[in-house]
């Protein structure tokens, strides 16, 4: 029986992929199989959630060597007669997806945040188009398909079964990439995706000294501070965990207050599911007006202190 293969170096992501794989597998009659590489704990965790787990133990195989990893995935796909490969659309997963797809001469979709199996057997994959301006539904028409799914979209599969772990022999072909050092990123523990109220700032916030006022406003409203990408990456005023948008977080708060944000699509794609959006911007014609329920045309520098005073 043909199969659907789940792989992610991140166990939580792999458990989520198992849920997606089960949906696709039961609709298309594909056996769900999970792969674990150089991680015994992960293999055991997967076996509590998936009937068949394939384990690779090869010291010479490094996650950082995408070329070698893709070759391994290809070997496993052929050995196990896999027709659908599900990867995580995290950074390692996306990098791997394109290379695996190329070896398999297959179509590939990344950043997939929704899946629907149609009666004709096609798997509709939903993702952003035109930088988030549109939502596209795409179908891979090649015999084998590689799909990378955004983390946290599917619930993680619970541990309720006792699957088997089988060791699989592979041929490691190193491309000579070696890790020199790794450094844990200093993380901001904030989780803006689960926050009910978001106060987001953009480049309209001219002065870093005004940032504490924004933080105070967020605190008063019991919300979290978030930002557009340049505020975190170019100015480095806030952490990367607070970026909303195409390459950041997708938030669905009850209320989003957008301060000094022009509303480029790369940003709005991450906040357009908010229930209510209030924008404050000096430019009446800024794009942000198209996604706002309420818009106040004003300089945020003047507005924030006044607002804080009136709601305190």
């Amino acid at each position: 029986m043909a199969g659907i293969l789940v792989y992610s170096e991140n166990s939580k992501n792999a458990h989520e992929l198992l849920t997606a794989a089960t949906i696709i597998g039961s609709a298309l009659g594909l056996e769900v199989r999970a792969l674990s590489i150089n991680n015994d704990t992960q293999a055991e965790d997967l076996a509590e959630r998936c009937g068949e787990v394939y384990r690779i133990k090869e010291d010479s195989l490094k996650l950082s060597d995408t070329s070698a990893m893709a070759s391994i995935l290809d070997q496993v796909v052929r050995k196990l007669n896999i027709s659908v490969v599900l990867l995580s659309s995290n950074r390692r997963g996306k990098e791997l997806a394109g290379r695996v797809a190329q070896i398999l001469d297959s179509g590939c979709l990344t950043d997939v945040y929704g899946i629907e199996v149609r009666d004709d057997g096609n798997i509709d994959c939903f993702r952003n188009g035109l930088g988030g301006l549109t939502v596209v539904s795409q179908v891979i028409d090649t015999e084998k398909k590689v799909i990378a799914i955004v983390p946290k979209i599917f619930e993680a599969m619970g541990n309720k079964i006792t699957g088997v772990i089988r060791d699989v022999e592979v041929d490691v072909r190193s491309s000579g990439v070696n890790v020199v050092r790794t450094k844990t990123k200093v993380r901001d523990a904030v989780d803006i995706e689960t926050s009910d109220i978001i106060v987001a700032v953009g480049q309209g916030l001219a002065n870093k000294d005004d940032l504490p006022q924004v933080e105070k406003l967020a605190q008063l409203l019991e919300g979290e501070v978030a930002c557009t990408k340049p505020v975190a990456t170019d100015r480095q005023w806030l952490s990367e965990e607070r970026i909303i948008g195409l390459s950041g977080k997708k938030c669905k708060p009850n209320l989003a207050i957008l301060l000094g944000i022009s509303g480029q699509v790369q940003f709005t794609v991450g906040i357009r599911d908010a229930k209510t959006i209030i924008a404050v911007n000096t430019d009446e014609n800024a794009n942000v007006k198209h996604i706002s329920d309420y818009m106040l045309v004003a300089d945020i520098k003047d507005i924030i202190p006044e607002l804080i005073e009136k709601i305190s």
Partner: protein, 251 residues
Amino acid sequence: MNIIVAIKQVPDLDYIRIRDRRPIMEDVPQVIGDIDKSALAAAVDLKESAGGNVIIVSAGDENLEDTIKEGLAAGADEAVLVKDARLAGMESSVIGTVLAATISKIENGGLIIFGEGSADNYSGQVVSRVAQILGYPQVGYVNWIEIEERVAQATRSLENEEETVEIPLPAVMSVVSEIKEPKIPSVSSILKARNKPKRVYTLDDLGIEIPENRYVRTVINLAPVSQRKGILIKSVDELVKVFESEGIIRR
């Protein structure tokens, strides 16, 4: 050693209008995406240590030369382009093949840099496809690169960690925008860009045929339904009233 930067011609997203949920693509200017500009700026920075030229490769339709002019003004030395009407809106698997064939035409290409994702499709798979076709090692999501002789060091910026690797050259990398803020070209560099060398190929020159069947088919491409109130408010007092009516604060 030359540094090759792969650049994608993309529609300027700010100029796309939506009508009946459909994107209107007519008269939308074609530009170089922001991440690609960062990739180019990073390449220009590395030029000295690599001891070669910065060469743009790109594949697109008839407007391509115009779009790429901006890249030449931003510090690239030359461009090798594939211009073919059939490439408009072409899928990643074909673009990967075309770019790999184009890169093979360039002598002494030691490092090939891509943006981590294009401004429009943002799938990030062309870089990996090109690396596989060329049989080169790759490292993605890079925020720092240093070139030494025949190897490079690069830092991959992952979700929770930064992983610095040593990678033999030639190699393929994708970079994040944080690697380098692009510079706005000066007037004199814009003028000079006109005289920089360009090679332009067609698909026939490269001996590439577009496969009859697409690998990926787009079924739906529509803007999400948006039902916003669009109310203009005039003062902070009104804003406070909105907070009250929306149940955000109580009086």
